[in-house]
């Protein structure tokens, strides 16, 4: 039996598509689905016209042109105009931060102390948060989320698929990075440290020095803070250092060199002013959202920075970032889309939220592109995915259609 289901909807056909939705939900549990796309942007070589992706048991089994990939008769067929890899948000806080913006759903920053690397993201992640289903309905299949850039060391981050009813089901990497913020975002006042960026650097260095002695003495009591920071020193965990001012970016690089640790430079509004230094450091950048608000320490941000990082050959991705009011989250699909206004091609813009993001997160072995053996994480659209009036019409995670909202 072969059921042909069209996902290639356009505005005005909502009713017809609602009927299709029922069918789609019925096939949500099918282990074997063939996804057909007029154009398939694999992010692994050239786009395929009239493409077919076979998914089996949650993995991509085959990908190619319809002429080359035969669809076995027992596969459910889903059709969309455009298919891309599931989108990856390289840095978010959703799941810890909720859409209500009330104290009980704001778990992204704990203010009792400026340095709390022991705080695990998995102990706060709400897999059923509305903002997660929102971004999932816009093609996002993986998020790097966790403690917010709102304390010197705010806690750990994690990597999750945007699915599952529990943190256990959603989690891909329970501890991905340790979130550090240098600059305005983690500054305290009224004599409560840190009150300056130099103090922030000093406190961070003291913490790393302390951690370097940890575990050397036998019988020493366990210390959750130092245990994590020790992993940083052993390059087992990178620091995700949010820094916007050029001086703060340079501080991050200076400290990374001093302690020979891995960092990922985050935010980086002034990156365009220190491109050579970033390139020389060898570190990757998770760049601020394209449409991020300029002001204060982000006053110099440029929407052309992504193009400059690209030209300089610096590995980077785009993020949704941390929002404290309305809207409560940005969407990486839209932040990538805005890049086309500032000199980036459509496919390069798409890379910043697929394969390039996967590489920075160390996830490119299993997602970020449409390639045989990778997770069957796909986003489906009824037109150019970056265009304002295009709809995301389907999202697949691990071979299951997890969203069929037309959004």
């Amino acid at each position: 039996m072969k059921a042909e289901i069209s996902l290639s909807g356009t505005t005005g056909r909502f009713a017809a598509q609602a009927a299709i939705l029922v069918l789609l939900l019925a096939c949500a549990s099918f282990a074997q689905i063939a996804v057909k796309g007029e154009t398939v942007y694999t992010m692994d070589g050239r786009a395929i016209k009239d493409g077919v992706i076979l998914t089996n048991n949650g993995k991509i089994e085959a990908v190619g042109t319809a002429a080359n990939v035969r669809i076995p008769p027992n596969y459910k067929v889903v059709t969309a105009r455009i298919v891309t890899p599931g989108l990856i948000d390289a840095h978010s806080v959703i799941g810890l931060a909720g859409y209500l913006n009330q104290p009980h759903d704001q778990m992204q920053v704990e203010e009792s102390s400026p340095m709390q690397p022991e705080l695990r993201a998995i102990d706060a992640y709400n897999a059923r948060e509305e903002l997660i289903s929102w971004v999932r309905s816009l093609g996002v299949t993986m998020i790097h989320t966790g403690h917010a850039p709102a304390a010197l060391i705010s806690g750990q981050t994690m990597i999750a698929k945007t699915t599952g009813d529990s943190v256990e089901e959603a989690t891909v990497v329970p501890t991905a990075m340790v979130a550090v913020t240098i600059g305005q975002g983690s500054m305290n006042s009224g004599g409560k440290p840190p009150g300056t960026s130099a103090k922030q650097a000093a406190m961070l260095r003291e913490m790393l020095i302390k951690a370097s002695g940890y575990g050397k003495k036998e019988d020493a009591a366990r210390d959750l803070k130092l245990e994590i920071m020790k992993k940083v020193l052993e390059k087992e965990l990178p620091l995700l250092v949010t820094a916007h001012r050029a001086t703060d970016i340079m501080t991050a690089i200076r400290i990374a060199k001093e302690f020979d640790i891995k960092i990922v430079i985050d935010g980086a509004s002034d990156a365009h002013m220190v491109l050579e230094e970033i390139k020389e450091s060898g570190f990757s950048v998770i760049l601020h959202p394209t449409m991020y608000r300029a002001g204060g320490e982000t006053e110099n941000l440029s929407m052309a920075t992504a193009s400059k990082l690209k030209a300089a050959g610096i590995p980077f991705a785009i993020q949704s970032g941390y929002e404290t009011y309305v809207p409560k989250t940005r969407v990486v699909l839209f932040e990538a889309a805005a890049l086309v206004k500032f000199g980036m091609s459509m496919e390069d813009a798409l890379r910043t939220v697929t394969i390039d993001a996967a590489k920075i997160l160390g996830m490119d072995g299993r997602t970020g592109s449409i390639a045989v053996g990778k997770d069957a994480d796909l986003a489906m659209f009824d037109g150019d995915p970056l265009e304002y009036s295009t709809h995301c019409i389907g999202t697949m995670i691990d071979g299951k259609l997890v969203s069929t909202q037309i959004r």
Partner: protein, 439 residues
């Protein structure tokens, strides 16, 4: 010598600007979307003294020798955008001393040189309603401004009505933003409405006293800046721009509007899709905002991109706003794109960005569409206004170019970068170097 040069250059500037006034400018060859009337594929717009003096098909059209011809083939022209709710210009309104402060003028707070105003020009916005915040039931008077170039002071961007008064509305809000539960402030929605009603009743009494005085100064009540302003509201001279999100709060605004007869524009109307028919039946316009995700506050958990389509279908007038800094003025057109994404017609989305906004600000007789006799407020785009791939190339206000993407300084504002957040620099030709804003 220097003084002589200064005087000389001033004379040259005077002569040349007088000459420029006489010159006609023709934009020729673009696809023109006039908003009122059908799009013109190969069109022209003729501008003189800040007004559109002719518009039509460019084929076979010739222009007098003194006309400056601007070739805009392959480009798209539409009216300047009207942002019906913005917080650009470092605007401040009422303070924490009370929930209702109609006497507060944003006029007295706006920095006309702020970079946020330049960003709005880069976003194609030519007219904005600059509003104080929503943390009060009434946070003061709003100001309608034209984003003219080189403004040094607030006077340079004001818009005047036929009586010679600068134009503006008044900001009201209901719902949670203005609920504070402390001295004098409302703790509930019902109290919010009661406080507003009490104040309007006082204004009605004040108005009656003025009418009774019949021009006799001895019988006039003592001046009261707050009540004077509310009398303007009661007389329909000042439009209420009412922040409101939840469906029940929207209906409360309609209820008060009916009771006191003021003119109102519903602002935000996050749950408009739930009460679109009621809004349409009241004949009240809505200014909507489309944000990237729901939530961020309890009242916006049910906000939908569908609002534009729902209100259009119900027959209500729909405009848009940036609420800058909630959304960036440079991305204003994106909202129309998202409204279309959710089912609004392209025509009404573009109408909403221009003419609908002009109507909400009582400016539709002079701007909002490209028609003979209207202000030459236009934007030149690289393509379809509703496409992400399109950039705004130029913005013109009153026939003068205020933004040009090909100019390095303007490009910095449009894209960002080092120094983009600085206030506008004022160039003074009589001095060496740049005074950076000195007079």
């Amino acid at each position: 010598m220097k003084r002589y040069l200064c005087v000389l250059s001033a004379v040259v500037i005077l002569v040349s600007s007088a000459a420029a006034q006489e010159m006609r400018t023709a934009f020729v060859g673009a696809k023109i979307i006039p908003i009122v009337g059908q799009p013109i594929e190969n069109g022209f717009i003729l501008v003189h003294n800040g007004k559109i003096i002719d518009i039509g098909n460019a084929a076979g059209r010739s222009f007098t020798a003194d006309t400056v011809i601007i070739d805009v083939k392959g480009k798209v022209i539409m009216p300047g955008l009207v942002d019906t709710h913005s917080h650009i210009g470092e605007v401040a309104g009422a303070d924490g001393s009370g929930p209702i402060q109609p006497e507060i003028r944003t006029l007295d707070s706006i920095n006309a040189r702020a970079s946020s105003i330049q960003r709005a020009q880069a976003g194609g916005i030519t007219v904005a309603n600059i509003m104080p915040g929503s943390g009060h039931l009434d946070s003061g008077q709003t100001l309608y401004v034209k984003l003219r170039d080189g403004a040094k002071k607030i006077d340079d961007i004001l818009i005047y009505d036929s009586d010679g008064r600068y134009m503006g509305g008044i900001k009201f809000a209901n719902g949670t933003n203005s609920i504070r539960s402390s001295g004098g402030w409302p703790g509930t929605r019902a109290k919010s409405a009661a406080l507003v009603r009490e104040r309007f009743i006082k204004a009605q009494e004040y108005k009656a006293k003025i009418e009774k005085a019949a021009g006799d100064p001895d019988k006039m009540p003592a001046r009261d800046l707050a009540l004077e302003t509310l009398v303007e509201v009661l007389e329909g001279k000042r439009v209420v721009h009412h922040h409101t999100h939840r469906h029940d709060d929207i209906l409360t605004v309609l209820r008060l509007q009916k009771e006191f007869g003021f003119r109102v524009v519903l602002q935000h109307v996050s749950e408009a899709w739930k009460v679109a028919d009621e809004i349409a039946a009241a004949g009240v316009p809505s200014s909507i905002i489309l944000v990237d995700a729901p939530g961020g506050k309890l009242e916006t958990t049910d906000i939908k991109w569908l609002n534009g389509a729902a209100l259009e279908k119900a027959g209500a007038l729909v405009g848009f706003h940036t609420d800058d800094y909630i959304t960036d003025s440079r991305y204003f057109l994106r909202q129309a794109g998202f409204a279309v994404r959710a089912g609004m017609s392209r025509e009404m989305a573009l109408y909403g960005m221009t003419m609908a906004g002009a109507k909400m600000l009582d400016l539709d007789d002079r701007l909002g569409s490209l028609e003979k006799g209207k202000d030459a407020d236009i934007i030149i785009l690289s393509g379809d206004p509703l496409s992400v791939y399109t950039n705004i190339l130029e913005t013109w206000v009153d026939g003068k170019k205020v933004f040009d993407r090909s100019n390095a300084e303007d490009y910095l504002i449009a894209v960002g970068g080092y120094g983009a957040g600085n206030d506008r620099l004022i160039h003074i030709d009589c001095f060496d170097g740049d005074l950076g804003g000195g007079e």
